[in-house]
Symmetry: C2
Subunit: 381 residues, 2 copies
DNA sequence: CGGTATCGTGAGACCGGTCTCAATCAGGTT
DNA sequence: AACCTGATTGAGACCGGTCTCACGATACCG
């Protein structure tokens, strides 16, 4: 029964008139609240059907105070990590009737601020943010306004808020120790984030994933009575060019192993190595964060630290929904453990390379070839 | 100045009172419309500042009729194609002050329908949809309602609407001819979409990318006086398992080249080939749609047909913004041409292949072969 | 200096729903 | 038959903005 185009939308009042009842009754029947007799209900529903009536969610939201949408603020939806996490978030919140309003910040604080403000103005019922820095002013005001907030991937020190993320430190230490055992002493770490560890005290847990990964690296060295050379950290990198030149620098600076802080960086790092004619793992060993499917297709397949990205997103979404519904007594979110998946991108350091460290005993080709037991990063098929 | 938590939000009325002016004047000053004296404006702004006033976009939207948000309905944000396109859309519409409301359909029509309805109810100012089928009822009613609509990637026959996508046929024909020249006669095409070409007449342009890609493939055969065996089309595939078994089937059915309809499929196809110990391109040539960065990292690097995905998204977003702003006389959107990027995954067909395949010369032990329990469909004796 | 165009202002309707409240109605009691 | 209870119903306020309109004040004009 579609009317001709450009028709003015029908309202409850129209439906009420058509059904011959009061606006209030029509609204009740359509909104499924309050008491309505069967007779009235069916007449109203029929009238609505006839008119092709659709409720105006804006109006509804305005006086219920619930917009049934949640804001999601990520650095970059193009990053597979965020893409997959967003999928998880979306699936979770949709189960509770919410839709996702998305905002990219390009990891810029200013963009993040305006995004959060915009979303607050649009009265989203809650917010999921992957903060690009540890600056918390704008997030604090979300809390002040009493709107639920869940952080994704990265925490903000001093902000008492649920965080859905992973704890990769165990896997990171494990990986680093294996590299050390293979003779690596100069291990480079490459990341786009800033390693800003501005905790109030060293006792606080590290909230930034990068900080905790770097700390794990250093810790592995200490466990072996060594010290990690912090000059091998390259952070705050923007753009492929600067990542590639960081690789250049590090290799020239005698790094024998490189750690890429996410798969986007990993791509560039590997490409840069290939371009320079350096072989993995003969010349340089490589560890990458995030287990993208392609990592195991390379030759050699790349050793990675996997995070259950979809689950992390899904958890963030579920928790946010719970908070919006004022469910209380929720246990704090515990981080998902990262998992080291050994493939073939670790190798012994070539003795000629460094000055002359301990001559590593002839390692058998380091193929632990642990099966990537079902190598799934997420629980979905 | 932050008040204690859970404060009721301030409204224009509050600001007006605080500034000692009428609600109307305060609203004008804050909304930046109508005539307001400098004196009043500054008093109002100051008062708003003092109270930490934030306008309620819902209320604003309700009587301007503009929600300043656009709906984006894609199959799966996790698919790099959509992730990147969404980024483009988002960047484009944000330039015009719109935010993105995102919905995943998992390529299911029912989900797509409800998503579109939901977004319409939320009064988005416009919609960008990557339709999962050629079913147009729900999209038609968007048009009926007079709300701007732009299609992404795939068209719908008979729906008079802008389409932002690419035309890969030239590149597809080119690639297929090269395969044919290399001796390939049995070329498999693998896709998750359905190849539903339900045009009213054969004269209409093909709207589904898959249909046009398959058509290009067939055309290349015809140009060479050959016929493509349509039984080598595997469409409507869901999940990695069914893709992998399609690869199995096709190889057993003597396909010597495989075309993967997107990068998600490409990953699985390549993994399946590796697992079976089949080498690219010696045993099977591979063409993939979408140029993901990892494609060139593989050994051999994969030949692909690239689409300017970000630009496609950006174009969709810009066009939608233009339509919302009632700009008229817009030229129809022309598709971006696909580009064949030749790498090293094409090779001549081995003449012996049809005979008794696996007298293959000693492959280096296929590296990972961490055969997951039981799975081995490798019936090749 | 009267007439009029312009600006600034406040009152109040309005957007399309929800929700309060008092009035009405039906059934069950005694 | 009078009384009580709970379900239905309609009128109208309300959410937080925008916008129309009428009115007073100022400015420009011949």
């Amino acid at each position: 029964m579609a009317k001709t185009a450009g028709q003015r939308e029908h309202t409850v009042a129209d439906v009420a008139r058509e059904a011959g009842v009061s606006k209030a009754q029509a609204a009740r029947a359509l909104g499924e609240y309050g008491a309505v007799s069967d007779a009235v209900r069916s007449r109203v529903v029929a009238a609505a059907e006839r008119l092709g009536y659709r409720p105006n969610q804006l109006a509804r939201s305005m006086n219920t105070g619930r917009s049934l949408s949640v804001g999601v603020v990520v650095g970059d939806i193009e990053n597979p990590y965020f893409a997959l996490a967003t999928r998880g978030i979306s699936d979770a919140v949709e189960e509770h009737g919410f839709t996702v309003v998305l905002s990219n910040t390009s990891e810029r604080l200013a963009a993040e601020r305006t995004a959060v403000e915009m979303l607050m103005d649009k009265r989203v019922d809650g917010l999921i943010v992957a903060p690009s820095t540890t600056e918390a002013g704008h997030l604090d005001s979300v809390l002040q306004a009493g709107r639920p907030l869940v952080l994704l991937d990265r925490g903000v020190p001093g902000l008492p808020v649920d965080l859905a993320g992973s704890d990769v430190s165990a896997a990171a230490v494990e990986a680093a120790e294996e590299l050390i055992a293979l003779g690596h002493r100069r291990i480079g770490y490459i990341t786009t984030s800033r390693n800003d560890d501005n905790r109030a005290s060293p006792q606080e847990p590290l909230s930034s994933p990068v900080a905790s990964r770097v700390a794990a690296l250093a810790q592995a060295f200490e466990l072996n009575g060594l010290r990690w050379d912090e000059s091998l950290l390259r952070d705050g990198l923007r753009g492929e060019a600067s990542i590639a030149s960081a690789v250049d620098d590090l290799v020239r600076d005698k790094a024998t192993a490189l750690i890429a802080s996410d798969s986007l960086i990993g791509q560039v790092v590997i490409a840069a190595l290939q371009q320079k004619g350096l072989r993995i793992p003969d010349d340089v060993s490589v560890l990458m964060y995030d287990d993208q499917p392609w990592a195991r297709l390379l030759n050699p397949p790349i050793t990675v630290i996997a995070q259950p990205t979809y689950d992390i997103g899904y958890t963030a979404g579920s928790r946010l929904a719970a908070l919006i519904q004022r469910r209380s007594g929720l246990p704090p979110l515990s981080p998902f453990p990262g998992r080291l998946i050994r493939r073939a991108s670790f190798g012994p350091v070539r003795s000629a390379h460094t000055g002359a460290p301990d001559a590593v005993e002839p390692l058998e080709p380091p193929m632990q070839l642990a099966t990537d037991a079902g190598n799934s990063t997420c629980t979905r098929d």
